[in-house]
Amino acid sequence: MKPRVGMFAFTCCEGCGLAVIECENELLDVLSLIDLVEWREGLSEKANPPELEIALVEGSISTHADEQKLKAIRERAKVLVALGACAHTGGLNALKNRYGMNQVKQMVYGEAGAQFDTIPARPLSAVVPVDLFLPGCPIDRTEFLSVVRDVALGKAPRLPDYPLCVECKKKENVCVFFQGRFCMGPVVRAGCGAICPTHGDGCEACRGLVSHPNEQAHKETLAEHGLKVDEVLMHFNMFNSYQEDQPA
């Protein structure tokens, strides 16, 4: 029997779900491997079975209701995969955590904000155990397809745990720093094919850091190329500002 798979979204742009929909040439092959039973963004009907083999979850957790829903999904699913930066590291959403929640509501919605329930944004792993994660903003389609294949085969997927520089060098890109700009590549997990540096931008670290990043070396490199301390921190914090000791 094919594994039953559900896709779910919390606080995010649902761009990772869109990246899956964009696997147009491969979707039929994907459906020969898995049985997609529940997915608000991509399915017009849903089966809602009490048990799932795999739950693919995008978005970070930023309301009390999100928290309850995620726990319910965890109870239904044998394997829970965090899909994309918001689910994996908290992503951009965690930038709000540096402000008070009332202040955030006021900034975005003015007086109408009072009615919203909002709590500091957290990655899925801060709420429930997560079995696997697929990094990136959005996720990389090729990586998604190979992870789906591996999970369906019962095999542990392998994500690269080396810096992005490897992919830039293989493509013979001119280093972003040598072009007078800034890049997080030397401390960031590869796997996207160095898409931003290849198209002329510095890496913003959406895939999170490698297991043992040399953060000190990178702070010094950024400073050597002219960044002030707070600018260095901005580069580190954009996608990776969530701290485990932050209050929920």
């Binding site: 810096p163 490897v166 060098k169 040399n214």
Partner: protein, 345 residues
């Protein structure tokens, strides 16, 4: 055959002839920075032969960054076939260091288990080398790689009004057939000699004789300097990937989503990357950055040097040019040499 000289205007003619028979690649300037990369020549007049080394060495043609090795199909009668591809290719404008780099790969890939993919690429390959003007990161003068004794079909040295041409092979001699050449004058020979001497002199120096490095390093495995130099290392593998003599790779199984066919591909790997020496149980033989840095230096200047008789470093300086934290092999070697001398006295 006495050495010949060709005028600058003959170079486009030579290129045009080669392009009629094979794909020709030469260094091209990258936009956005003062950097170069080998790429296919479209117009024989666009090739500039004065350049600082390319980001990736000529090894990318003999041993591509990603390469299919095997294709398979699972059916009643499963099919498994080796994928070995080759094409006629001319590398035009390879510096002496790059030519030495290919020599090092030849040993590694053809020593005991001859690698069919590598040899297929190499057998279709012709090399037209050119001499160069070193920058502050070049140290070929210390590695004995400033001039190639072999490994080229033609080698060009800049002299007044053109190039002195050394012919390395019969195929190289045939490249010149019918092109206007003239016998090298005493003045041209003297200019070429002077240019080589100046090149060797200009390069950055390692402060010990190259042949003494393996013995010297053998007593320094416990040096604290490995840790000191490694503190700033990213373990990003850049030095491995841009190195003309690094040849490590990983083999990846890529099965199609339909689960009925797939390929096995190899891709460049590097000993500076943390996962490189991690084995199935999770054990990592070189867990710390300094273990990896030391290992790389021992490979270059001791293990493979001892095995094959030449350093596995061609002194091209690509690693330090691309290293964001400026780990300079000459500086590391000189610090270690000073320590060895200090221990001896």
């Amino acid at each position: 055959m006495p050495l010949q000289v060709i005028g600058c205007e003959v170079v486009p003619q030579l290129l045009a002839r080669l392009m009629a028979e094979a794909r020709v690649v030469a260094p091209h300037r990258r936009t956005g920075a003062d950097q170069w990369a080998y790429a296919e020549v479209r117009d024989p007049c666009e090739v500039e032969l004065e350049y600082i080394s390319t980001v990736l060495p000529a090894k990318k043609y003999a041993f591509p960054p990603v390469e299919q090795l095997v294709r398979y199909e699972l059916a009643e009668r499963p099919l498994m076939e080796a994928v070995v591809e080759s094409e006629p290719l001319v590398i035009f404008g390879a510096h002496p260091c790059d030519i030495h780099g290919l020599w090092a790969l030849d040993q590694a890939f053809c020593d005991v288990n001859v690698d069919p993919n590598y040899t297929a690429h190499r057998s279709g390959m012709r090399i037209v080398g050119v001499d160069c003007v070193p920058d502050e990161h070049c140290f070929c003068g210390s590695m004995g790689t400033a001039t190639p004794a072999e490994g080229f079909d033609l080698f060009l040295t800049v002299v007044e009004g053109g190039y002195l041409v050394e012919i390395g092979t019969e195929a190289g001699a045939a490249m010149l057939d019918g092109l206007p050449t003239q016998e090298a004058s005493a003045a041209a020979l003297a200019q070429a000699k002077e240019r080589l001497a100046r090149r060797i002199q200009q390069t950055t120096r390692v402060s010990a004789e190259c042949h003494s490095l393996p013995l010297l390093l053998s007593g320094l495995a416990d040096s604290e300097q490995w840790g000191e130099h490694a503190t700033k290392c990213y373990s990003c593998g850049t030095c491995n990937l841009v190195c003309p003599t690094c040849f490590c790779f990983n083999v990846i199984d890529r099965m199609a989503l339909t689960l009925d066919r797939g390929t096995k591909e190899r891709e460049w790997d590097g000993c500076m990357l943390e996962e490189f020496s991690k084995v199935a149980t999770g054990e990592n033989f070189r867990e710390e950055r300094e273990d990896r840095l030391r290992h790389r230096f021992y490979r270059k200047y001791s293990y493979l040097f001892t095995k094959y008789g030449r350093p596995y470093c061609c002194g091209c300086g690509r690693c330090v040019r691309q290293c964001l934290v400026h780990i300079d092999p000459v500086e590391v070697l000189n610090d270690l040499i000073a320590e060895a001398e200090g221990r001896r006295s």
